[in-house]
């Protein structure tokens, strides 16, 4: 049943370019898709380990810069008179490197910031993203600083026997994003249903108890951080090669907030929810644009985020599935919340 729904959903998304010809809407769908990939990777941390990382855009941005610099080449001086010269590589190598380097950054940031929890974890992750942004802004020799990296080549796939296929059109990029999104979805789904997924949820429900039954906290959380950062890096790489210009604004805190809003709206711990939340918030500007000034749109975003937290605190998909499957499920939910609160207090 579940896989039938998945296949039908993929087929529905794959059929979109057949009936949607408007380039403006296609563009919105592609960028929304890229953000949904990043938001799904954030959901792995937020929804399955319970760690609210507000520095997630750092991995997205690192992926974008790594991929762009790999395909553009660079020549920078390092302290001590060394020079690093790199000749341009094909964009696909950039894509792979973006995943690897973002994943490594996820490893180091995870090892450092998982020493603290709650509000402190949030603030460390924000700080990390801001430091990376300031480096991107100030290391002009490598990143061009505020002048931006321009003329980034489009993503190209090398097919045996066909040579290089550069993805110039929106149609090609749409399918590329769709393929990566499906891959990310399947990877995360497999992971959370595995042994590690159970360990993550155990940690989220009650860390002390999880430790006492032998779950290795650091290993579990770090693995989640590495995979999450790697997927975010892949999304960043897609973004760089689609938009084809990136500047340090890619690290803006508002981009993290956009991902968080997508996850919270759809529901923490629900990948389908992230897709729905992502489509709602990614396509909302198209609906609002004719009737509202850009500043007013952002006021509406803030208002919608608050409203969702007040009305559907668990997000659209978990609230709906609960309402559909268990009409009398309310008492059970209250019990669970009370237990979580209790364990949180114990932990504090």
């Amino acid at each position: 049943m579940r896989s039938v729904v998945t296949i039908l959903t993929i087929a529905a998304f794959a059929s979109v370019p057949l009936w949607l010809r408007d380039p403006y809407l296609m563009n919105a769908l592609i960028t929304t898709g890229i953000f949904i990939i990043a938001a799904m990777s954030l959901n792995l941390l937020l929804g399955f380990t319970g760690q609210l990382s507000l520095g997630h855009v750092a991995f997205f941005g690192i992926g974008a810069y790594v991929s762009a610099l790999t395909s553009l080449g660079f020549d920078v001086g390092l302290p001590g008179g060394f020079r690093v010269v790199h000749d341009p590589w094909p964009p696909f190598a950039g894509f792979v490197l973006a995943i690897i380097i973002s994943g490594l950054c996820g490893y180091f940031v995870g090892r450092l910031s998982f020493r603290v929890r709650g509000a402190y974890f949030v603030i460390v992750t924000i700080s990390f993203a801001e430091v990376v942004r300031l480096v991107a802004l100030n290391w002009v020799e490598l990143t061009q600083g505020p002048l931006a990296l321009t003329n980034i080549p489009p993503m190209a796939l090398s097919l045996p026997g066909f040579g290089e296929l550069a993805l110039h059109t929106k149609l090609q990029n749409y399918y590329l994003v769709l393929v990566v999104a499906v891959a990310a979805y399947l990877l995360i789904t497999r992971l959370v249903r595995s042994h590690f997924g159970r360990a993550m949820r155990g940690l989220m429900a009650n860390e002390t108890l999880a430790v006492s039954v032998g779950i290795d906290v650091t290993k579990t959380l770090t693995l989640a951080a590495v995979i999450s950062a790697g997927i975010a890096g892949a999304a960043g790489s897609l973004y760089a090669h689609y938009i084809r210009i990136i500047d340090p604004e890619v690290f803006a805190f508002i981009n993290t907030v956009t991902m968080v809003i997508m996850v919270i709206t759809g529901g923490k711990g629900s990948l389908a929810g992230t897709i729905i939340g992502g489509l709602v918030f990614g396509l909302m500007p198209i609906v609002l644009r004719p009737i509202m000034a850009p500043e007013a749109q952002w006021i509406a975003y803030g208002g919608v985020l608050i409203a969702i937290l007040f009305v559907l605190p668990r997000g659209i998909v978990p609230s709906l599935t609960q309402r559909l499957s268990r009409p009398h499920g309310k008492t059970a939910a209250v019990g669970r919340v009370a237990f979580a609160e209790h364990s949180a207090k114990e932990h504090a």
Binding site: L112, V122, S127, F128, F310
Partner: protein
């Protein structure tokens, strides 16, 4: 050497307002356990109140500061009553996300109302700075330091010498027991948020004329406030004051001797370093406030 002395003088002036920002946030964070992302917006709000009072109402510069404090107090109380009181008892992530939503909406509102063009406030102080041997400091900055110092002392006395302050400290230690002893915890929460917000607005009103006023000015201020709170330890007013001066010193020396582009990175680096090596803050007395 004279360059270093000048950095120290600048540190003193900057540190005073940072301390104000930090005290406001450490009270809210410590007593209410709310990660207050609207703190930076209140800072921006205070600066715009200053601008409106001086330029649009044409009133006295010195009158604008108390007006900003009162306006910040009212806005803080409104935020607490509408957004935080209904969510009392929910987990810290939920209130944090609600505060993020409020921050986005309010900052965009400021952008909508006042536009993105930076504004400056005219001050009654002479242009020529006060020169003392090798260092010089503008009269405006001296006024900022004095006003910040006054507000810090008033807040300290409020927390440590009044019944309200006593109730706030009791709530910080144990909410349930304080409530059993007859403390109106709801009132304490609203007061705490209002006081913290008025201090942020005061900091904005003081620093606004020193720099320029723009809707985004509060973003960095909020992060700096978090850095100060983490440095000083949760709910620790003395720690927040010292933390404010340490952050100002780190920024001044970082900008002066490393690179001015990394001035704003100092706060973030301090946050990362303190949380990794000494997560309870440098002056931890986690059981006390005041």
């Amino acid at each position: 050497m004279s360059e270093f002395l000048q950095h120290l003088v600048n540190t003193l002036v900057l540190g005073g307002t940072y301390a104000l920002l930090g005290i406001g946030l450490t009270l809210i964070f410590g007593i209410m356990n709310v990660v207050n992302f609207t703190h930076g917006v209140l800072y921006t709000f205070g600066a715009y109140v200053m601008f409106i009072v001086v330029h649009q109402l044409g009133l006295n510069f010195f009158l604008a500061l108390p007006v900003a404090v009162v306006a910040g107090w009212i806005l803080g109380a409104v935020i607490e009553l509408t957004l935080l009181r209904p969510l009392r008892g929910s987990d810290i992530d939920t209130t944090m996300l609600v505060m993020i939503g409020a921050w986005i909406a309010m900052q965009s509102g400021a952008l909508w109302i006042w536009g993105g063009v930076a504004k400056s406030v005219a001050t009654p102080f002479p242009e020529a700075p006060l020169v003392l041997g090798p260092v010089s400091v503008s009269w405006l900055r001296l006024f900022v330091l004095a006003a910040a110092g006054l507000l810090i002392v008033v807040t300290y006395l409020l927390i440590n010498r009044t019944r309200l302050g006593c109730a706030m400290r009791a709530t910080f230690q144990d909410e349930d027991t304080a409530s059993l002893m007859g403390v109106n915890v709801d009132l304490i929460y609203t007061s705490t948020f209002a006081i913290g917000s008025s201090l942020a607005a005061a900091a904005g009103a003081l620093l606004g004329p020193v720099y320029v006023i723009s809707p985004q000015m509060g973003d960095l201020a909020a992060v700096k406030a978090f850095a100060i709170v983490i440095l000083g330890g949760l709910g620790n007013i003395t720690g927040a004051v010292i933390g404010g001066f340490i952050l100002a010193l780190a920024e001044e020396l970082g900008a002066g001797y490393v690179s001015s582009g990394y001035r704003d990175a100092m706060g973030f680096l301090i946050i990362i370093a303190v949380l990794i090596f000494k997560p309870t803050g440098l002056f931890a007395r986690s059981e006390r406030i005041g």
